[in-house]
Subunit: 397 residues, 2 copies
């Protein structure tokens, strides 16, 4: 039923309306419906990432077949190439990339602050050099809003300064600018069919996070993100900050944990009241041959799968599992065949979207705590070393 | 109607039956139906190439949606990786790659003879080193047949020696071995559900080609290929040899021109009596952003398409043209996005298959000569320099 409602793009409900449907008794978990100009998004939701106006390897019709409710695109990348004006001239990002469902764009702030040594920040914005051709560019709060208005995403994000999570002094300074910029973004924002979300920063510091939540809530955004987490800090810090900050966020607005998207992150995040997730992890893992299964990751490069006629995951209904063996997918990976990248991506995206469907169902049925315990009891989490390797390339592609 | 019949895999007609349906009055062009164990192939037919058990970037369901009647896979590549035994253990090549329609495999001879300096030939076979890991391997006529029987392709090819087209002495020596090996392949071949085709060699020499056609016809193959053309010789030589050799080939058996597959090659080949074509050109061009259109090639890297909202080809019914602009496809090419390789491949394969459908229709309606003249009058053939660049990588990927 949630799926059917999600397709009801012709709804008369005002854009930005967020209906909380079920509030879990034993956790902060909840189900909801976020109304956007391109349809209703059932929450909690996982958004596959389409950095350069394409979820790598997948076509829009495959994403619809996988029933992805919303995808994310990166403002920084699209601003540099092909350019916001180009996309605007072609009718906006939805038309450009052939995606008719809701779209979320980040502000580019995270990418710019990842360009260490290539950017200078001041109170009015940030100057940086392109990773493509070294050309100099400047983003201001107003420009970031203007770009996203041209792109025409359903959810846009304010420009924020994403500081090193453990650097207190830097976080204090960055937070001041983040709040300044949030206010300027809000003032500059014109499109009524686009929701502009605020971003709470403050690193791993509970007092800064509390201040950020309070200040931003006072500005009255239609949704709030928690930024600056899942950037290398231990999971325990992420959980501690979520435990502390989510109760301070407006309960009647969607809450978005930026850049988190491992299966365990979804369960822990939902339990702590998060409604929206995005991450490149599932698609990037897929391109490396690391497949998500209920037992943990299965690495197709392992020789043990050479003549394994089973699908990646027994009982999985995705196109890859219905048609191909581990042996064939392993062959495609070993032979560097593009079809392998694509079939593996289909499986991992299906795994994440299916997990979210089951989480929503468990919340609806009132058995989320049991579902979470059962899933995490079976799922072998990747070790810290593997996580660190992944994190180095976090959200960059 | 041809399409519907092509799907009639449950036919009771014996495998290998080749029905000539229409013989053109003004050329050697003809339509036919080749009955294989996995269904009927309407001819003339273009076979997309799936070197490593995948037509690069495309899934089997996309190839079926494109209505590809038959595809080719490369014995040499699959023998080296993942190995014929692995594919055999997984039920054969059809099951392995999820392709239920007819499959053609080459013998590996062409690839081995392309490994200059890495192979030694003698009357019993050829010894070579793997392009993957340098390991030493030996192919004999019997082994090449055994491998293809394990793969289970519908059409298998004999081991042949593909000589430099203009080197007369080499062609004389190679032809002796090619005929020796053809006989040994035929004797070794056991599978009644697989058609083993002979390969006519002889370079650009009419006397050698005539001898080869005569010797092979005497062996009674269910089909005959013309090998050793489209390997770098001028188009005029290819046409001259086809003009000379096709009339010497059995009229009631399918004729296969190996490795030719530009639009102009198809029209010239069909006019000269060829029934089957294969080539990596359309798929490789697509991955380079060179799109086939009725006017010639359109290169998506050209800045002129930066904000071009038109499809690659107006009126084209392929998925790429129905959903995406030149500007978006250009963006994907410039950003090295995999989806671009895939959408471009869909278009170029559609273009070739659609051209073949129209050629069959023109033959059926008795207007092939007019169709050919009209098509070639509009289609700007790539210049010789571009052809030479392409040829250097001919049939290697």
């Amino acid at each position: 039923m949630l799926q059917q409602l999600a397709r009801n793009a012709g709804s008369q409900t005002p854009v930005g309306t967020f209906d909380v449907l079920v509030q879990d008794d034993e956790s902060l978990g909840r189900t909801g419906m976020l109304h956007t100009a391109h349809g209703v998004v059932p929450t909690p939701v996982f958004c596959p990432v389409g950095t350069q106006a394409t979820v790598k390897t997948l076509s829009p019709d495959e994403l619809v077949a996988l029933d992805a409710p919303m995808i994310l695109a990166n403002t920084y990348h699209l601003y540099l190439r092909p350019g916001a004006d180009t996309i605007g001239a072609l009718g906006g990002l939805h038309d450009f990339m052939g995606w008719e469902r809701p779209l979320l764009t980040d502000s580019g702030g995270f990418q710019v602050f990842s360009l260490k040594g290539l950017r200078r920040v001041d109170d009015n914005g940030v100057t940086f050099r392109s990773h493509i051709d070294g050309s100099e560019h400047r983003l201001t709060p107003e420009k970031v809003v203007a770009i996203q208005e041209v792109l025409g995403s359903d959810i846009a994000m304010v420009l924020d300064e994403c500081a090193e999570p453990f650097h207190h002094e830097y976080n204090v300074a960055a937070l001041r600018r983040t709040h300044l910029w949030a206010e300027r973004c809000l003032r500059a924002h014109r499109r009524r069919d686009q929701l502009l979300f605020g971003i709470i920063q403050g690193g791993v510091f509970e007092d800064l996070r509390a201040e950020s939540a309070r200040v931003l809530a006072g500005m009255g955004f239609p949704g709030y993100a928690v930024g600056g987490l899942s950037v290398g800090e231990p999971k325990s810090d992420m959980h501690r900050i979520l435990d502390h900050v989510v109760p301070l966020m407006p309960a009647n607005k969607p809450r978005y944990l930026m850049g988190a998207g491992s299966p365990e992150d979804m369960l822990e995040g939902v339990a702590r009241g998060i409604d929206i997730f995005d991450c490149v992890l599932p698609t990037r893992l897929a391109r490396n041959g690391a497949m998500l299964t209920p037992e943990g990751r299965l690495n197709l490069r392992n020789a043990t799968y050479r003549v394994d006629s089973r699908p990646i995951q027994e009982g999985c209904t995705c196109y890859a599992c219905r048609h191909f063996s581990r042996a064939y997918l392993r062959h495609l990976v070993m032979a560097n065949e593009i079809l392998g990248l694509r079939l593996n991506t289909i499986h991992n995206v299906h795994f994440m979207l299916d997990l979210m469907r089951r989480i929503r169902e468990a919340l609806t049925l009132g058995c989320f705590a049991a579902f979470k315990e059962e899933f995490l009891g079976r799922y072998r989490v990747a070790d810290a070393a593997a996580r660190d390797r992944n994190r180095q390339r976090w959200r960059t592609s």
